[in-house]
Amino acid sequence: MLQEIIFAGFGGQGVLLMGQILSLGALEQGNEVSWLPSYGPEMRGGTANCSVVISDTPIGSPLVLKPNAAVVMNQPSMEKFEDAITPGGVMLVNSSIIPLKAHREDITTHYVPCNAIAEELGNAKVANVVMLGAYIGATGAVSFDAVMAAIRAKFAGKKAALIEINEKALRAGMDAVK
Amino acid sequence: MTTKVLFEKTKVLTDVPFHYCPGCGHGIVHRLVAEVIEEMGLAPTTIGVAPVGCAVFAYDYFNVDMFEAAHGRAPAVATGIKRVQPDKCVFTYQGDGDLASIGTAEIVHAAHRGEKITTIFINNAIYGMTGGQMAPTTLVGQKTTTSPKGRDKDWSGSPIRVAEMLATIEGSAYIERCAVNSNANIIRTKKAIRKAFETQMAGKGFSLIEILSPCPTNWGQSPVEAMKWLEDNMIPYYPLGVMKEV
């Protein structure tokens, strides 16, 4: 297995965290993994993205230029990364705020209204975890249990109260791409 | 016949002969610093930092563990030493090119952090080692090899008063300006140096003694003329006294 994923969106949409939780989940299920953020001034309010590579074997390039999956949380990210996805790849689109439809026909596109789903669950902040659920639902790259273990580790201690809502969000995301 | 010892050189100076010019103040100040270290019983725990400038070979003269620092960086080097050996007595010995020009950031921030070190600052209003160029402390009108018509205030600014400046910084604990142009002033200088080391060892913060010191060679004067020039020209611009004591 070799999954090369780009998570992209506005700063503040939890894009980097999404990648980190997925990476932790991949580590949890015994894969090799690397997480590489974009960094610098572009992080301050502009668009942010991170590359995650998950593999059965040691990882070569941690920098992903041609992802086989892209999770786009805002329109500029979709415009930037849709063309980069390898044929047969997957794109997950935050349809709550992106009105565009994919022009590529050689990839599978899922439209997930993750903001709306998160609001229905009662916490708008978990939109990123909804999207992460959609990603694992669409690709099966990392198991639900492994991602939940990562979420438990990430929200251990003071933030433990948030684990339940994040579990609901993850499941709702998976259901959205069934 | 019985003999009586009337004077003995401090053991905190080595037997290496000073290389300083006739009438230079460095030799006087070296002895004062060494005597204070000896009298306070600090020699076994003292680590000194020599500058770049006329006192570059101070590490050959002070009979304690010594460092030689890059030009102006002695306060940073002393910070490194003191932070890993906080129980030691750490001092820097710096001239006005070293401290007041290339090393202003280091001295200001050593004071700003309240580093528990002592700085002996020799102000002779000129660059000595390189042969008499203008220093930030050179007086307006004073002729040097890089201000041949005398320092022009509009062109080169007015001399910087280091003791007053550092006294404004919260982290400084003891700042005094002295001179070594007379016996009375030399005795006062020694007292000030002792006070500075006491301040350090009490953990109160940064201490600095600025010492007005003659440079007959580069001033183009005899040693006696230089003492007088210092009194007539430097002291009016650089008033003596305690600038800060906490």
């Binding site: 980190q20 590489l36 990882i59 941690p62 | 563990d65 460092f67 890059a70 960086r73 940073a76």
Partner: protein, 355 residues
């Protein structure tokens, strides 16, 4: 111990603490500010020293003071900050003191950019500051290797009384990967030369920590000591990774993250039946000159390719190593433009003469 997902900078900083480093002086600069941030919290926990200096210049001179006082000490920065530190690094080299310096490289010259680069190879391997001196330079290619290298650097610096520079690119600093952190302090050596307070009754000579050797032949003698030490290091400390060299038709030379990107290209080429091997220098000084030659000299090898995020700096050392035994080609860009997997694949194919 289970592996932990850690950011490169944090893994490097923690590895330094594990190795027994108790002293850090630094100044914030992207992309390595995670190091001072991490250590500002961590050093007090272990009774160590953390000072955010007023400048890179001051920080490096504090390192000089602490190293001369016998401490295990480090500083870190990124390219423009490393330039500022060179005054003190030259002084530290001249005074024969041990310390560890991390450079998380970004693009230059000048303020340059903040994206990853390998543009400081010359500066790192040719001394950096003025004067005829060397420093040991180690280049990690993963977060785990960065932690391992940082961990071992202090003992290496102590052993040879030299600067060890860890030369990482911005990827290594910012990337998260699983890490198994090395634990337990590495062996310390006696430092009878350190300035720790002295009296005439002490059982060692008075310490004078100094880089001024104004009376000949003192400076000549210093360089004779350097030459002997450097020869010993060249004989004992060369490290590199030899990767899939068996039956290789082409050899790639690359270091740091660039070597990882090359591995992805090598995998693609292998799928198409083109066998490519790689020599990845881990020590940039001492450079694995012999390994570079031996790989190029293999009967199966037709030609070689050096890939860097620079205009071709390590390429000079590769050419010295290959020494004309096979052709040498280069792929790379100055600044922060990174040769891509596709470009590497295309370059090797063009060297083979296929589309």
């Amino acid at each position: 111990m289970a592996k932990k997902l850690m950011k490169g900078c944090e893994a490097i900083a923690e590895a330094a603490v594990q190795a027994g480093c108790r002293c850090y002086f630094g100044y914030p600069i992207t992309p390595q500010t995670d190091i001072p941030e991490y250590l500002s919290a961590r050093m007090p926990e272990v009774g160590g020293v953390f000072v955010q200096a007023e400048s890179e210049i001051a920080a490096a001179n504090m390192v000089y003071g602490a190293a001369g006082a016998g401490a295990r000490v480090m500083t870190s920065s990124s390219s423009p900050g490393i330039s500022l530190k060179q005054e003190a690094l030259s002084t530290i080299a001249g005074a024969e003191l041990p310390c560890v310096v991390l450079n998380v490289m970004r693009g230059g010259p000048g303020i340059g950019g903040i994206a990853p680069s390998q543009g400081d190879y010359y500066q790192a391997t040719r001394g950096g500051g003025h004067g005829d001196y060397r420093q040991i330079v180690l280049a990690p290619a993963s977060v785990q290797e960065a932690a391992d290298i940082m961990y071992g650097s202090f003992a290496l610096a102590d052993k040879y009384r030299m600067i060890v520079m860890v030369l990482a690119d911005g990827f290594i600093g910012q990337m998260m990967e699983p890490v198994d952190l090395p634990m337990g302090a590495t062996p310390e050596v006696e430092k009878p030369w350190a300035a720790t307070g002295w009296t005439p009754e002490s059982d060692r000579p008075r310490a004078v920590i100094n880089s001024l050797y104004i009376k000949e032949p003192d400076l000549t003698k210093l360089h004779e000591r350097f030459a002997a030490r450097y020869a010993e290091i060249e004989a004992n400390e060369v490290r590199y990774e030899a990767y899939q060299l068996e039956d290789a038709e082409f050899v790639i030379y690359a270091y740091g993250t660039m070597a990882r990107i090359c591995k992805s290209a090598i995998a693609i080429l292998a799928n198409e039946g083109i066998k490519v091997g790689m020599v990845r220098p881990i020590t940039l000084w001492p450079f694995p000159t012999k390994a570079v030659y031996e790989a190029a000299a293999l009967d199966s090898v037709k030609s070689t390719l050096t890939v860097e995020i620079s205009a071709g700096q390590m390429f000079d050392d590769v050419r010295i190593g290959v020494n004309g035994v096979k052709p040498t080609e280069f792929l790379g860009y100055a600044g922060s433009k990174i040769p891509t997997v596709d470009e590497i694949v295309a370059k090797i194919k063009s060297m083979k003469g296929v589309e």
